[in-house]
């Protein structure tokens, strides 16, 4: 009974606090929406400006582009389109000059040299199309027959990749702050000393907090998954039961780290700085938003140790790639190991009393 009353009280405390409500639920959605707007839609969509002279080659060019996916052809006046190019609205501008019959058509191509990646792609697409038209018109025999096969059948869209990362990141931030912040506050306000006067067992008191945060973690995962499916067309391939187990282990691991943090932080103010110092680098290194294949080997080795890396990758494998739990067993075991390390260290460092209270007495005496 003690446990349930405590669990209820803790859940009320989390849900009645506007600050924690925002960080638990609104923040991940804001994050996902922003990333979705920036990278999710129209990534790889090339905008090519075209000034045509209605010559036959220009018509061929136009027809060829209509068959290419991911390219948008925008026709217009040269001056307007040049401005669009400078504004970054279009990636390259192709201008067909008027030409006498039988002469090669002058095609001028403008691009922004600061946008190397996108314009590079656009330029080679334009060259390829022009070459294709030349070959077709001249009836040049094909030397190569190119057949393209994508190796991974489930090539992840950006949002599909991002979603498990956002879940992992949210669980990390919420569990770290949501565990450590109230505990250190309760210690500073003397509530923990008051609780210590009651017969409640430490394990029950802290256990209720851990379970409360785990409930929050499940709510976060559910909200993020529903938003991903409904707004960003994310495909959930794996079993939700398996994902729930990963969320459970991840939440317990992060809550344990939060308990440890509450033992390390002397004052409420230091919770912020310590939690951010732990969480921020981990967020980027753990493959939350992008794989870190490009990083130096030593940094990748560091990333492989981090708790969040295993939570993120296990969630991604199970949820998005549809893997069985057995396939992510190493990640699950690593999370359990981390949880144990954190719990033991937290038990060693946990204090019921703020050092300030003792110090205060000493000063007065």
């Amino acid at each position: 009974m003690t446990f349930w009353t405590l669990l209820l009280a803790n859940t009320r405390l989390q849900l009645r606090n506007r600050g924690s409500l925002f960080w638990h639920f609104a923040f991940p959605l804001v994050f996902m929406t922003l990333f979705g707007l920036i990278f999710g839609r129209g990534a790889g969509m090339l905008n090519i400006g075209l000034v045509t002279n209605d010559s036959v080659p220009a018509q061929h060019f136009q027809a060829a582009f209509n068959e290419i996916e991911g390219v948008k052809l925008i026709q217009g006046e040269e001056n307007t389109l040049l401005e669009d190019l400078q504004d970054g609205q279009i990636h390259v501008l192709v201008v067909f000059a008027a030409a006498a019959a039988g002469q090669p058509v002058d095609v001028e191509l403008f691009y922004d040299q600061n946008e190397m990646l996108a314009t590079g792609t656009a330029r080679s697409v334009v060259r390829g199309v022009l070459d294709g038209i030349t070959r077709a018109v001249l009836e040049v025999p094909e030397l190569f027959r190119l057949k393209e096969t994508a190796i991974s059948t489930e090539e992840l869209t950006f949002m599909s990749f991002l979603l498990p990362g956002v879940i992992g990141m949210s669980i990390m931030f919420s569990a770290l702050f949501g565990t450590a912040y109230p505990l250190v506050t309760e210690r500073e306000k003397g509530i923990l000393r008051r609780v210590k006067l009651t017969p409640v067992k430490t394990a029950v008191f802290l256990g209720a907090k851990a379970v409360g945060m785990t409930v929050i973690a499940f709510m976060q995962a559910a909200i993020i998954i529903l938003t991903g499916i409904s707004l960003f067309d994310v495909q959930i391939l794996g079993s939700l039961f398996a994902a729930a187990l990963v969320v459970l282990l991840g939440a317990l691991m992060m809550v344990s780290l939060g308990l440890l943090l509450a033992g390390v932080a002397k004052r409420v103010e230091s919770v912020d700085s310590i939690a951010n110092a732990i969480a921020m680098p981990m967020m980027f290194l753990a493959g939350t938003f992008f794989e870190i294949d490009g990083a130096p080997d030593w940094l990748q080795s560091v990333a492989l140790i981090l708790p969040l890396t295993h939570l993120n990758s296990a969630l991604r494998e199970v949820l998005i790639r549809g893997q069985e739990l057995a396939a992510v067993l190493p990640a699950l075991l690593t999370m359990v190991a981390w949880a144990l390390v954190f719990i033991l260290a937290a038990a060693y460092l946990f204090k019921w009393e703020s050092p300030k209270i003792q110090g205060n007495n000493r000063k007065v005496l």
Binding site: T2, A9, V195, L197, T198, L365
Partner: protein, 306 residues
């Protein structure tokens, strides 16, 4: 004898915060610890509650030793700690239910009602604790200490910082508890509170009990002595004071010089004569009968107030 404290001692580094304190309290008594900030009242109380481990001596509550295993007395005692805080996002009722559950108890509707009405918080049952006034918060702290129906109740400065009206409201609760046969130990630095509430008080200074008795008896100890207070144009030397045939208090900025004399007329005569010889001007001369405040001043040489 429900509380028996023997040679209770606490050291902080080289400082003796509590120095071999001995006292006993009868069941149903309201016992007060009187002393200035830092005298060792709170440390003493916390050792009795099981929050702070003593360096020497022992505390017996109903014959059970608090140390080394404070868990044994947790169901016997109720505690209101100094500077009370609550979970701000919980209501009055939720706080009471939560603390009862920490004792593995479920509050019946009747128990909840009687606690709320004792504290005058019936209307505030669904109010968040951060909307309560200072007096309401203190009263909530007191009834929170009652959820386990304790026999011994510790109240650490239950009325500090409250206005006189709120203070009287808290006194009513404390008297009501006494009426129910509870034993109450409280600390205070308000004389009025000690005189009004406590059957006996212990005056504690620098970790030692310097006097322990009924408030009225303590005042009578000063005897038929009168309190003479005055201000002087420059401090009087101790040699000078010794000749007055009075017990001298110490100079304090608020009241000036204080003397306790069994023959005030004679002492004042000598005082004025000597002052004239030395060229010292005496003004604001008062003669009054002593209060508990004066007992404290006479015993410790300090004013009790903050």
């Amino acid at each position: 004898m429900i509380i028996d404290v023997q040679d209770l001692t606490k050291r902080y580094g080289g400082l003796l915060a509590v120095d071999k304190v001995n006292f006993a309290v009868e069941q149903g008594e309201i016992f007060g610890f009187l002393g200035p900030n830092g005298a060792g009242k709170t440390t003493c109380l916390e050792m009795m509650e099981g929050l702070r481990k003593p360096d020497g001596g022992q505390v017996l509550l109903k014959g059970i030793s608090v140390w080394p295993n404070p868990g044994k007395v947790k169901n016997l005692i109720g505690v209101q700690l100094q500077s009370t805080s609550f979970y701000e996002e919980l209501t009055v009722k939720e706080i009471l239910v939560l603390f009862a559950s920490l004792y593995n108890r479920r509050l019946s509707e009747g128990q909840l009602e009687s606690l709320l009405s004792m504290a005058g918080l019936e209307e505030k049952r669904n109010a968040y604790t951060n909307t309560l006034s200072g007096g309401q918060k203190q009263r909530l702290a007191i009834i929170t200490a009652l959820v386990n129906e304790p026999e011994i109740i510790f109240l650490d400065e239950p009325t500090t910082g409250l206005d006189p009206q709120a203070r009287r409201r808290s006194w009513e609760i404390i008297r009501e508890l006494q009426g129910k046969g509870k034993t109450i130990i409280l600390t205070t630095h308000y004389m009025e509170e000690a005189e009004n509430l406590c059957a006996r008080v212990a005056i504690i200074d620098q970790g030692k009990i310097v006097a322990i008795d009924q408030p009225q008896k303590l005042i009578e100890q000063l005897g038929k002595k009168a309190k003479i207070s005055f201000a002087s144009s420059r401090p009087l030397e101790s040699v000078f004071l010794a000749q007055l045939g009075a017990e001298a208090g110490q100079v304090s900025s608020a009241e000036g010089q204080v003397l306790f004399a069994s023959d005030p007329a004679q002492t004042i005569g000598v005082l004025l004569e000597k002052a004239k010889q030395e060229g010292i001007v005496i003004h604001n001369l008062h003669v009054s009968s002593p209060s508990l405040d004066d007992v404290f001043l006479g015993l410790t040489g300090k004013e009790l107030r903050d």
